[in-house]
């Protein structure tokens, strides 16, 4: 990676870009299954715009980030360090973990919070090849009746939901789109 692209790709207007991005991320987390547009960052390959934007919006020197297999490249590490200052770490310590579903497995590696502090759990940002409102049926807080979302592995995510109120929370990213799946969502595999 040449020096110029390491410094490029950040927010143009950080307060405003981050505000827009957070609103998309928050709406996605509040309405599991909703797919929102999120943009503003131009991260190095192989990161999607959505994943890069989420990192710039939520990560800083106070958050430990784990990069899974295919996204753990020098270019991504340097870009993330320059723009956020977030320390890299192993999966077990991560506040945020980034990668494809295969990169990030198994789920048991991540912090799920403690009974007294369920918020101290990892948020996984999962890069997906497709993101659409088909497949697993979701219900629970934030969903009027039911919603559908193409989940990478409904079984593993069901297992995570059974830990409630503990467990990980997920963002799924694809291009400049994001959806979320909090641990509170009940998942039924496609019938």
């Amino acid at each position: 990676m040449d020096g110029s692209s390491l410094y490029a790709g950040g927010f143009r207007d950080a307060p405003v870009d981050a505000a827009h991005a957070f609103r998309a991320a928050m709406t996605a987390m509040a309405r599991p299954g909703d797919i929102r547009r999120i943009a503003g960052a131009a991260p190095p390959a192989p990161l999607s715009v959505a994943a890069g934007t989420l990192l710039l919006t939520l990560c800083d020197p106070e958050t430990r980030v784990h990069l899974g297999g295919t996204v753990d490249t020098d270019a991504v590490r340097q870009w993330l360090s320059f723009h956020t200052g977030a320390p890299h770490c192993a999966a077990a310590e991560a506040d945020f973990a980034l990668g494809s579903w295969a990169d990030l497995m198994p789920l048991s590696r991540y912090r799920i919070g403690t009974p007294e502090y369920p918020d101290r759990s990892a948020t996984l940002i999962v890069e997906c090849d497709r993101l659409e409102n088909t497949g697993a049926v979701l219900s629970g807080p934030g969903i009027r009746d039911t919603a559908r979302l193409s989940l990478p592995d409904a079984d593993a995510l069901q297992g995570n939901a059974t830990l409630y109120p503990l467990g990980c929370d997920f963002f799924f990213t694809c291009g400049d789109r994001v959806a979320a799946l909090p641990r509170s969502t009940t998942i039924r595999a496609e019938g």
Partner: protein, 276 residues
């Protein structure tokens, strides 16, 4: 110096608050600790709500601020001006036009939509605080769902007064898990909490953020033989005639004359404008 960062707070503070909001939405009703900042207003004036609003606002938003339902009281006016100046956002008094509504102690009468966010100012986020003063203990009680004490408190209400006399900050159970203080809204407003909008709660002095996503089950605690009742003054509004809105009782003179008026000033005004 006259320039502020967008919405006053620095970006790192906003990221910290935003991370707390996301965890709050993921675990509805659970109080997420956050590093509350000093704000240019005293504790008790909505510093928690202001920080949550600051982390949530975008430049395109239209902000409404209410204090006990009113848009024109000191607290509401000063917070509205604060964000006009530091975030440059448009403001409104009309509930339907607002995208973000910061509130102290009321939920607007008009039904909120999916495109709106309701931010509550919370003085004491811990529903168990007056039953168990130790934070270490209340945290344990939440982790174990040890909520019997709250039912004892409601039962004592019944044994002393013949009915549950708790009239505001009436405890609710969120998504069948956490017992939550809905902030000091009248219990009349409790049934509205199962709404289409996102609800965020900020307690500045107590350094807690919590949330209720749209369409989340919110149940007011009660007993089979003493079911929850959303009560209000048994009277129509003396200004607009509404029989379905929450009323303030206003003392008119020393002779004991009084009138009842809608606490939601926008609701009352729009009804009177329609009638005119």
């Amino acid at each position: 110096m006259s320039d502020y960062n967008f919405a006053y707070l620095d970006e790192q503070t906003k990221r910290m608050i935003r991370r707390a909001i996301l965890k709050g939405l993921a675990v509805p009703g659970y109080q997420v600790p956050f590093a509350s900042r000093e704000m240019p207003m005293p504790y008790g004036w909505g510093t928690g709500g202001v920080q949550v609003s600051a982390a949530t606002l975008t430049p395109e938003d239209r902000l409404k601020v209410i204090d006990q339902g009113a848009d024109d009281t000191t607290n509401a006016v000063s917070i509205r001006k604060f964000f006009e100046r530091t975030a440059g956002v448009a403001t409104t008094e009309a509930t339907q036009e607002a995208t973000v509504i910061q509130t102290r102690h009321r939920i607007p009468e008009a039904e909120l939509t999916e495109d709106q966010i309701l931010v509550y100012q919370v003085p004491i986020p811990e529903p168990l605080r007056f039953l168990e003063p130790r934070k270490t203990e209340t945290r344990k009680m939440h982790s174990l769902q040890e909520y019997g004490l709250m039912h004892v408190k409601l039962y004592e209400d019944i044994s002393q007064h013949g009915a549950i006399s708790t009239a505001y900050a009436y405890p609710v159970r969120v998504a069948d898990r956490y017992v939550m203080d809905p902030s000091p809204i009248p219990k009349f407003d409790n049934p509205k909490m199962e709404m289409a909008a996102i609800q965020l709660f900020g307690a500045g002095r107590e350094q807690r953020i919590y949330a209720v996503p749209p369409y989340t089950r919110v149940v007011s605690l009660d007993f089979e033989d003493h079911p929850f009742e959303a009560t209000k003054a048994d009277h129509p509004c003396d200004l607009c005639g509404a029989g379905d809105s929450y009323l303030d009782e206003v003392i008119m003179d020393d002779a004991g004359n009084r009138m009842f008026v809608c606490s939601d000033t926008d609701y009352c005004r729009s009804r009177r404008e329609e009638a005119a």
